[in-house]
């Protein structure tokens, strides 16, 4: 059953002889938002997406039962997802010399790999080099928003003014008050579900109705409240009451939310195509070209300004040029850095917008891995309840280094968690024995477990960076990224605390701890890479100003996560979109005044 009855707008023909008002590179959260804001201001925009356009609903099949699928959701033979051990034992490029037909990042190894096999990039075509890194990429219209985890959180002045608070790193060139109206706009335009908590370090959104909690989660919430900590229903970039958008349905609490790598075939969960790009096309101001991999921002030799973008058609491998008065880069944190570094010219010998030498640097993200699993004894043998069909379970916001000062580390972390009955009883893997007793035990324990894992702030450090590999190129002949990146002692200390604090919180709630995971997952695992073209007030130590505008090239903007000054510990997508909205409003004003 499909609840969506509208097809996307008629696509306009791409006219490469024309000079567009703006070119947007990338169609994910950032690029989609840029397209939305600029077209609604009447600007004529060409959107270039490196990936293909596919029938996404046919991929996601959100309500398909495992037994309706020939391999119970697994990808066909010959598809391989890189495993944790491979990331750590081998060095990138991970697919080099692989006998498999297709190699994907670890996300392709989750249950339901068949549903992402046309969404994730094939690592064979997209090599990278350097230090170990689990780089997850999706090349298609909408990018990773097609499969994102949907946790939609705001940052606060604990994040924007982190240096003022604890002395580390740099403050952002904006404060919460500057971005708050744009968070509100994003909330209202796209829809977000959650429960108000009035926390200064995790500001509330303009919420639609929240997801419900399980009995186990209510128990933990009550206990945490006595510790002055919070468990709140997963704040999800999902419209639960509906939005004015004919391409999206509200959430009916159905489907595969909890058991696959994201994706929602009625688009209650935000994705860039239905949330931003199709409505932008309906203005008549947006032209889309997919299969178009930008590899150089072109420069006017007289003015040094951006004059357009050179791109390779990923199907026919031919190179084309598109012209525009303004160029907006939104290719994702790492791909945007790559594009800037690739765009070398007489005026910009180190890459466009890189007079500071900071492009690719201050690379940061979230560290994850440590977590805790508990057994809620009174739930053993409880009759099955409907605990599934929601975008996530719960979130425990940061509680470290707010009023207190931890001896081992600065900044903080939050926990994402879940509990209750799922489609598959995961505890079966750890239930010993066989026979009637085994079967009964699996049944009785299926809904009794609760688990949570930390997401911690990785400090932005100049020493963590990417540059271009001098030799290795991708399948289209474009130089690959080379990683120089590793976690520091601050992250390791923070991770020790995550495991200990998680255990303490479960124990305090009377939940029997059955597993404590202390292992740190490979760099990149959180898929929250940030910071490679940071904003700032000083052109010597930052790439962009507070409107994500290049200090060096006034008609060049970089509106994705690369602009973030610090990672915070909150998931970045909502901030990426709020910032892009703010910057693109400014951009449109300046454009109309003839200042670009």
């Amino acid at each position: 059953m499909t609840l969506i009855r509208f097809k996307a707008s008629q696509e306009q023909d791409v006219d490469l002889s024309r000079t567009y008002d703006a070119i947007v590179v990338g169609s994910g959260a950032a690029g989609g938002m840029a397209a939305h804001v600029l077209t609604s201001q009447g600007m004529k925009v060409l959107l270039l997406e490196a990936g293909k356009k596919i029938d996404i609903n046919a991929e996601l099949r959100s309500m398909q039962w495992p037994y309706e699928h020939p391999r119970r959701g697994e990808a066909p033979p010959g598809y391989h997802a890189i495993r944790f051990n491979e990331y750590n034992v081998r060095k990138p490029p991970y697919a080099k010399g692989s006998a498999f037909k297709h190699v994907f990042s670890y996300v392709g190894g989750w249950g339901g790999s068949d549903y992402v096999k046309n969404i994730l990039v094939d690592e064979k075509d997209h090599p990278y080099t350097g230090t170990k890194y689990a780089w997850v990429r999706a090349r298609l219209l909408g990018g990773k928003t097609n499969i994102w985890g949907r946790l939609a959180l705001r940052l606060s002045d604990y994040d924007f003014k982190g240096k003022t608070h604890d002395g580390y790193g740099e403050d952002w060139p904006i404060a919460y008050a500057d971005i708050e109206p744009y968070y509100d706009k994003v909330d209202l335009y796209l829809g977000i579900s959650g429960h108000k908590e009035n926390l200064p370090h995790l500001p509330d959104s303009l919420f639609q109705r929240p997801n419900k909690l399980t009995a186990s989660e209510v128990k933990l919430r009550k206990s945490l409240a006595t510790m002055n900590r919070t468990l709140t229903p997963y704040r999800a970039g999902v419209t639960t009451d509906g939005v004015k958008n004919k391409y999206r349905s509200k959430c009916f609490g159905r489907g595969a939310c909890g058991r696959r790598p994201g994706g929602c075939d009625i688009h209650a969960a935000f994705d860039s195509p239905t949330g931003l790009i199709y409505p932008a096309m309906d203005t008549g101001n947006l032209t889309l070209r997919t299969n178009s991999t930008a590899h150089e921002v072109l420069v006017d030799p007289n003015t040094g300004k951006a004059r357009g973008v050179s791109f390779v058609d990923s199907v026919n491998h031919k190179t084309y040029e598109a012209k525009a008065k303004v160029v907006i880069v939104a290719a994702s944190t790492l791909e945007s850095a790559r594009l800037l570094l690739l765009s070398k010219s007489r005026q910009h010998p180190n890459g466009i917008g890189n007079s500071s030498g900071h492009v690719g640097h201050n690379f940061c993200e979230h560290v994850m891995g440590p977590g805790v699993t508990g057994l809620v004894k009174e739930m053993v043998g409880a009759p099955p309840t409907l605990d599934d069909g929601k975008p996530g379970g719960f979130y425990v916001p940061r509680f470290r280094n707010l009023q207190d000062k931890q001896p081992g580390f600065v900044r903080g972390y939050g926990f994402e968690g879940g509990s209750g009955f799922g489609l598959f009883p995961d505890s079966a893997w750890d239930t010993p024995g066989f026979g009637g007793q085994f079967k009964k035990s699996v049944r009785e324990h299926a809904g009794a477990f609760i688990s949570m894992g930390g997401f911690g702030e990785v400090l932005a450090r100049y020493e963590n960076y990417v540059d271009l590999d001098p030799e290795v190129k991708d399948a289209w002949g474009i130089p690959s990224l080379r990683f120089h990146y590793e976690f520091s002692d601050n992250e390791k200390k923070m991770c020790e605390d995550m495991a200990n604090a998680g255990k303490e919180m479960f124990e305090a709630a009377g939940i029997e701890v059955v597993g404590v995971d202390k292992n740190i997952l490979t760099e990149g695992w959180s898929i929250h890479e940030l910071g490679t073209a940071r904003m700032g007030t000083d052109p010597k130590t930052s790439v962009l100003n507070q409107f994500q505008q290049s200090h060096d090239v006034k008609n060049l903007f970089v509106v994705d996560g690369s602009s973030h000054v610090s990672a915070s510990c909150q998931n970045p997508t909502w901030t990426i979109m709020a910032l892009a909205w703010r910057s693109c409003e400014h951009l449109a004003d300046e454009f109309k005044r003839g200042n670009l």
Partner: protein
């Protein structure tokens, strides 16, 4: 957006016609990878791991062995099917050693004794037969709990349904 009654009826009709359709198009339940003897052993052993009980039918009724056979027949990494074949041989050798006959020729009590013996080392399997227990238990868990019987009859899974009104669960109060 409301789900129209018409849509609901269509969906129900489609769901009801599914089993008939599946029956008409599914290949005959003949193993593609296992020999008939191997198949019989895997079928029996999977059903001993997850047997029929008062709540639900077991692994045999859920078609666990046939599902495993299908995956092994098309496996890209050839060491996986080879491991299964070697594991079955090891079980047969152990059966001969313990009872002087093949696994399927043994009595139910003898089969149980063998399974109990190779399951005892589950947390740290050493011999090929012990390793095979882990292999077939994993395969049985994966296939059974993704089957219709496993999901609906045994687990009585309540999700993957449309919730047009309030969501199930508790408020954060």
């Amino acid at each position: 957006m409301n789900i129209s009654r018409r849509t609901m009826i269509q969906a129900t009709a489609a769901a009801m016609s599914l089993p008939a359709l599946a029956k008409a198009t599914s290949p005959s339940p003949k193993p593609q990878f296992f020999t008939p003897a191997e198949f019989a052993l895997v079928d029996e052993m999977s059903d001993m791991i997850i047997p029929t009980d008062q709540q639900s039918a077991g692994a045999r009724a859920a078609g666990v062995a046939l599902y495993i056979d299908g995956r092994l027949a098309e496996a890209f990494e050839k060491d996986q099917p080879e491991r299964w074949r070697a594991g079955i041989k090891a079980v047969e050798a152990l059966s001969n050693e313990m009872h002087g006959k093949a696994f399927m020729a043994s009595t139910p009590e003898q089969r149980l004794a063998l399974l109990t013996r190779i399951a005892a080392a589950e947390s740290d399997p050493k011999s090929d037969a012990e390793k095979f227990f882990r292999e077939i238990k994993s395969g049985t868990i994966r296939a059974y709990y993704t089957s219709k019987i496993g999901i609906h009859d045994d687990q009585q899974y309540k999700g993957n349904v449309i919730q047009p009104g309030d969501y199930a669960g508790y408020d954060a109060t």
